[in-house]
């Protein structure tokens, strides 16, 4: 099946439509909430929480004995939240740093989850097969009910986001100020963390434990490069996330033996790389171009300054001088002289140059901040 065929099938094939819709919605909600994680410097929280959710899934199964997705996800949510707040407690009450706390919760919870999973596998219960899809994620197992759940959660978190928009925004940028304004920062903080954990837990089934952190981060990191406005960033991140979901599903469906999760992550990574390089404001390419342009400008102005030093003692500023006398100043080339002429700062005639009125004014004002650069 080629990618083109996939898009044709999208409208007729039920399974394909469900999976695509699921990954798209997941990408969107992850992009939306991931923006907050990235801006709050909690990027790796996603990684820690997705691992920390595992014992919750196993315990939920052990207690209920049923493999109902909603109950398992509830278990994951609870253990994810326990993990998050333990990380908080560790960094605020002991002198363990946040990276150690994240790594501890990640690995210890995951190890405990593995213990429970292997313990469950030895139990004489035929029902247990398939729990490990939460480890690596299988988009193919998404059913309409899962997608509906995702849509509901997206709807709720979107309305909460709009409702508390002002509070979220101010908390992101200045926590102390928020406190002095009388907002309950603790409540806002818990609210936003709760939704981040919720998004992570939702994604487990689709992309799995390991890749969840990239789902959360990549769209947001890409979107961050294009804008400095929080609102625009969130919208962009959702769009990037949704597109990664759709393209990832399309590519993996069009090939054999290609699981969806990794492909989605790689598509998202392509978005990130593209944004890093080509975004006009912050991108590496334009930064390099700006850098070169500035350097050239600086050189040009240095030449002009040197000429000014020669000219300013003459009565007639436009008196021609030989290019030769610039020789003990090495910062000029034929090209830069040509460029100076293009700007009408000097005139060139044969081996001689003469400063114009404009060039003289320009050079005089080089170091004063009175005039804005054009």
């Amino acid at each position: 099946m080629s990618v083109a065929e996939y898009f044709e099938l999208l409208f007729t094939d039920y399974t394909l439509r469900t999976i695509t819709l699921g990954t798209a919605v997941l990408g969107a909600i992850c992009g939306m909430l991931g923006s907050f994680a990235v801006l709050r410097k909690q990027s790796l929280l996603g990684d820690a929480i997705s691992h920390a959710a595992l014992p919750g899934i196993a315990l939920a199964f052990l207690i209920t004995g049923a493999k109902d997705t909603n109950i398992l996800l509830l278990g994951a949510l609870v253990s994810g939240l326990v993990g998050t707040f333990w990380i908080r407690g560790m960094t605020s009450k002991t002198h363990l740093k946040s990276d150690t706390a994240l790594g501890l919760i990640l690995s210890l919870f995951f190890g405990f989850g593995m213990l429970l999973l292997t313990f469950i596998q030895k139990q004489p219960n035929a029902n247990q097969a398939g729990l490990d899809k939460y480890l690596f994620g299988q988009a193919a197992t998404l059913v309409e009910e899962d997608v509906r759940l995702m849509l509901i959660v997206t709807g709720i978190s979107l309305s909460i986001l709009l409702l508390f928009w002002k509070e979220f925004k101010i908390l992101l940028f200045d926590e102390d100020y928020t406190k002095t304004l009388g907002f309950n920062t603790r409540f806002i903080d818990i609210l936003i963390t709760f939704f981040i954990v919720l998004a992570i837990v939702l994604g487990l089934q689709t992309v799995g434990v390991v890749l969840m952190s990239a789902m959360l981060l990549a769209p947001a990191a890409a979107a961050r490069q294009w804008t400095n406005s929080l609102g625009v960033m969130i919208v962009l991140a959702s769009i990037f996330g949704a597109f990664s979901g759709v393209f990832g599903t399309a590519i993996s469906a069009s090939q054999n033996n290609l699981s969806t999760g990794p492909v989605i992550v790689l598509v998202a990574a392509v978005f990130v790389v593209f944004s890093f390089i080509f975004s006009p404001g912050r991108g590496l390419l334009f930064r390099e171009i700006r850098f070169r342009k500035n350097r050239r400008d600086l050189k040009l102005k240095k030449t002009l300054q040197f000429m000014y030093g020669i000219v300013k003692d003459h009565e007639n500023i436009s008196h021609p001088h030989a290019i030769r006398i610039l020789n003990n100043f090495q910062g000029f080339t034929k090209k830069s002289l040509q460029r100076l002429e293009d700007k009408e700062w000097i005139t060139l005639t044969g081996q001689q140059w003469a400063m114009t009125e404009r060039g003289f004014e320009e050079a005089k004002n080089l170091y004063s901040q009175q005039r804005k650069d054009d």
Binding site: L44, K97, L104, S107, L108, F110, G111, F119, P262
Partner: protein, 386 residues
């Protein structure tokens, strides 16, 4: 105990020690999560190495995979240097991408390759004794024991050789460069050792649990001591203890060995986290409560010192004016009275001589903020605590 059992425990203990040593430095350098990133991103290196050598324990594979680990670190630093995203975001972007590449490489060649992600991510110690090193027909013991043993001796040797350099560059990078010890060389050296250890250990305990073995013993030891040598020793002890206790837990539950090793590590950490003498949660909470009381007491004494009017010094006034709850007001009053700082006559509070002296010192401290003033007061506070 059968001989495979002993061998499993030996491998587990060696892995634990080998992980604990770089782990201590990673935790101290606030780079604990790099171990997580490395443990995931070595996957493409392992897969590529496996395609070439067809042997999970071959030295070439270890080298290739460790190289991928170092590349991860370099990539993370390169992204960070652009200033486009923060460090943690850079880590979070790099390793899932590399891991995905590894997963796809496995998936595309799944038919003829005897390697799956479960094995790499989770590992299985129980099978380790069956992969034996045979030298000219002689059974030399399990391959992974030799492998991890070599890595352990290597990192122990490096530790002893460069202990001073590692120490100074960990705690003061500026001083270290001033002394002519390049922190960058130390950094990449540590990263290389960590990569090699992670790669060597993933086969036995799995990629994610390597992270636990690296971070958890070091973090546990960090809560108990502030001395580098003692921290190294303690984390080795915790690592080995959890490895062996974990094996027996797995034995009784009939569950994954690496999972139960981590669980034991988790329990040990939890205990230390709660009960560590000075840095544990309970002692921190207790200290914070005491400090709150101390501040309240000083506030109260200063208040008495400032007011000679009777109504300001009436007992009921405490609740109204300073806005304290009844119980808190009573605790403070009792405490002050027990230490002879105040006298209560007809529900009016008076400062005693000792109280006046104490308040005077507190005032001087607040106004001059010189340390020696608070030192004497600290002695007085010990009176309350005792």
């Amino acid at each position: 105990m059968t001989s495979p059992q002993i061998e499993i425990q030996m491998i587990a203990a060696v892995v634990a020690v080998a992980c604990a040593i770089p782990g201590v430095f990673l935790v101290l350098r606030k780079m604990a999560l790099i171990s997580d990133a490395i443990s995931h991103s070595i996957l493409p290196g392992i897969v590529a190495g496996f395609f070439i050598t067809q042997d999970l324990n071959s030295p070439l594979l270890i080298l290739l995979a460790a190289l991928t680990g170092v590349i991860t670190v370099i990539l993370v630093e390169a992204i960070q240097k652009t200033g486009l995203v923060k460090e943690d975001t850079a880590i979070g972007l790099v390793f899932p991408a590399l891991f995905s590449i590894g997963v796809i490489m496995i998936a595309k060649n799944a038919n003829d390759v005897h390697l799956d992600i479960d094995a790499v991510l989770l590992g299985e110690l129980a099978f380790a004794p069956f992969d034996r090193l045979i030298l000219s027909g002689l059974d030399m013991g399990p391959k992974s024991l030799w492998l991890m043993g070599t890595i352990l001796i290597l990192s122990l040797g490096l530790l002893f050789l460069f202990f001073k350099e590692l120490k100074v560059s960990t705690f003061d990078a500026g001083l270290s460069s001033a002394l002519g010890i390049s922190p960058i060389v130390m950094h990449y050296g540590l990263m290389s050792v960590s990569s090699v250890t992670v790669v060597g250990a993933f086969d036995a305990v799995g990629a994610i649990l390597v992270v636990a073995l690296m971070i958890a013993p070091a973090a546990t030891a960090y809560l108990l001591t502030s001395d580098l040598k003692r921290m190294l020793l303690l984390s080795i002890v915790f690592g080995v203890f959890s490895a062996i206790a974990g094996y027996w837990l797995a034995h009784f539950l009939d569950a994954s060995i690496s999972g139960s090793m981590t669980t034991v590590l988790g329990v040990v950490f939890l205990m230390v986290y709660l009960f560590a003498p000075r840095k544990g949660l309970l002692s921190v909470l207790y200290r914070q409560k005491q400090q709150r009381t101390e501040v309240s007491l000083i506030t109260f004494l200063l208040h008495l010192n400032n007011h000679s009017e009777e109504e300001e010094r009436h007992i009921n006034h405490l609740n109204e004016h300073i806005n304290w709850q009844k119980i808190r007001a009573k605790t403070i009053l009792d405490l002050a009275q027990k230490n002879n700082m105040i006298l209560i006559k007809d529900e009016i509070v008076f400062l005693t001589e000792k109280g006046k002296d104490f308040t005077q010192r507190a005032l001087e401290y607040i106004m001059t903020n010189k340390d020696e003033r608070i030192e004497h007061m600290k002695d007085d506070f010990f009176l309350f605590r005792g």
